[in-house]
Point group: C2
Chain length 293, copies 2
């Protein structure tokens, strides 16, 4: 649906703006022209998963606006923030490949001016899974995503299902606060061996990279055991934890069946249930999830 | 600036909508027609103070949208919520008198659907003054005002300076979250004897009503002592507390000089400083404030 000729000019770089005022000027002009606007918030280090969000945005929106902002508020470990990969030039090339219309890459000062003191919190949904292991993380996510949505006021915003809990938190927040944008989840993109794409995968050593696809393989087998053999969630989880440990995963934060709406634990698959996993290979934390029913 | 002929049809009642969808339809149509939209959030029980907000909105906006919603989230005492006056028919008459264009009066279910779980918090500004004495109050205010602003997306929203701390909290929140509306404070409206208008004044007995203007009179005298006689804030406050007690005020929650931006306590008047007061007459809590310099 993009009005730019992306096939004929595949390498044309998107415009880059760094201030909210410039972003709003551009988006308002597009909107006045009747364009639907799609927003794709990211922290950069763009991979095929991010690009799939932009392609999905182009299906239902005339304009796709990617944002890159490594949000300090959502990092629970300072070392993780410092180590987070940043390469805007490379990111811009990837955005050009898919024909994104605009990159909004604000400075930390533009996002958090002096005396910034407001937070958005979502109760309930943020308490289990990653919320339990990353204190403050979802508050930081909810706050920055609220800001990005209100800065751009897109018709639709796109988030990967890889961070499924984050997707649900953002959907709940947008509904609760009456943010006038539709929040759309997009299926996880995987390597050929099943590993979910993630900016953190580049930190895996060769042997860790070889072990990493086991996370997805274990979830698939757990799903099979529960649906085909009627195994309980508890038994499948015990099997999965054992198997992950044997494959070299050192700390399994969670490996659980939950419902997709309220993210409450389940004893057995029901409609709209999903497996959720977070586990460490050395210093790298991997997360993934799989729809079971 | 109102495009309705308010002089020729002074008693024409504004339209009433109860759902966000209807509100957005109307406001969007007005905006497409080039109108600037002004929002005046209230909890009803409208008095001359509220009407002054609507008149102010009419100066800079083509359309004035009043909201009435008695927000359960911001009441720290359940009895206060139950006792809060509600008379929509009377409120509508007053809105008709000033020529408001629309009343948005949602149900609690429309504002807080099942599994509502998002909160907006402002740190720092909410910690002293009323924030200290009304736990949770400003979180409830910030959450409902964020919702109302995002439901209507007005160009400007108007709040009384009588709730000065609330005004500052809302301005900070709107800036921090990039809510695309300007937040405008409007001067407090007073009775001839100086008492600030408030929905709660109707709960005062005759003798309490006679004592109530002392709150404003004491603040004026404190301001005079500090600016004309160079008295310290501490000495002026001690005098003021004594005087209020003698006049029958039973509990003085605060009576303090603070700066108008960060609401931090001051020892002496500086530019943009203001006196803040909260005190009880029987079961009625009165608040007021006065610009000193």
């Amino acid at each position: 649906m993009s009005r730019e000729a992306t096939m004929s000019e595949p390498q044309r770089r998107p415009g880059v703006v760094r201030s909210v005022a410039e972003l709003r000027d551009l988006v308002s002009a597009w909107r006045r022209g009747g364009d639907r606007i799609g927003l794709i918030p990211t922290m950069g280090a763009l991979h095929e998963g991010h690009l799939s969000l932009i392609r999905r945005a182009q299906q239902s929106c005339h304009r796709s606006v990617a944002t890159i902002f490594v949000n300090p508020l959502q990092f629970d470990r300072p070392g993780d923030l410092a180590a987070y990969p940043r390469d805007e030039a490379l990111d811009l090339e990837r955005l050009a490949e898919v024909g994104a219309d605009l990159l909004f890459a604000p400075t930390p000062e533009e996002m958090y001016p002096p005396n910034f003191s407001t937070g958005v919190m979502v109760a309930g949904l943020t308490e289990g899974l990653c919320g339990e292991h990353r204190p403050g993380h979802f508050g930081g996510v909810a706050t920055v995503v609220t800001k990005l949505l209100l800065q751009a006021l897109p018709d639709e915003a796109f988030f990967g299902e890889k961070d499924f809990q984050q997707l649900r938190v953002i959907q709940r927040m947008a509904r609760d606060l009456n943010i006038p944008s539709e929040i759309i989840g997009v299926e996880t993109v995987r390597e050929a061996d099943g590993l979910a794409l993630s900016s953190r995968n580049r930190h895996l050593s060769q042997s860790q990279r070889a072990a990493a696809p086991t996370l997805y393989a274990v979830m698939r087998e757990m799903a099979r055991r529960m649906t085909d053999e009627g195994e309980s969630a508890g038994k499948a989880e015990a099997w999965g934890r054992r198997h992950l440990s044997e494959a070299g995963f050192e700390k399994i934060e969670y490996l659980e069946l939950r419902d997709e709406e309220k993210l409450q634990p389940l004893d057995a698959p029901v409609q709209n249930s999903r497996l959720f996993a977070a586990a460490w290979l050395g210093a790298v934390r991997l997360i993934d999830n799989l729809k079971v029913a």
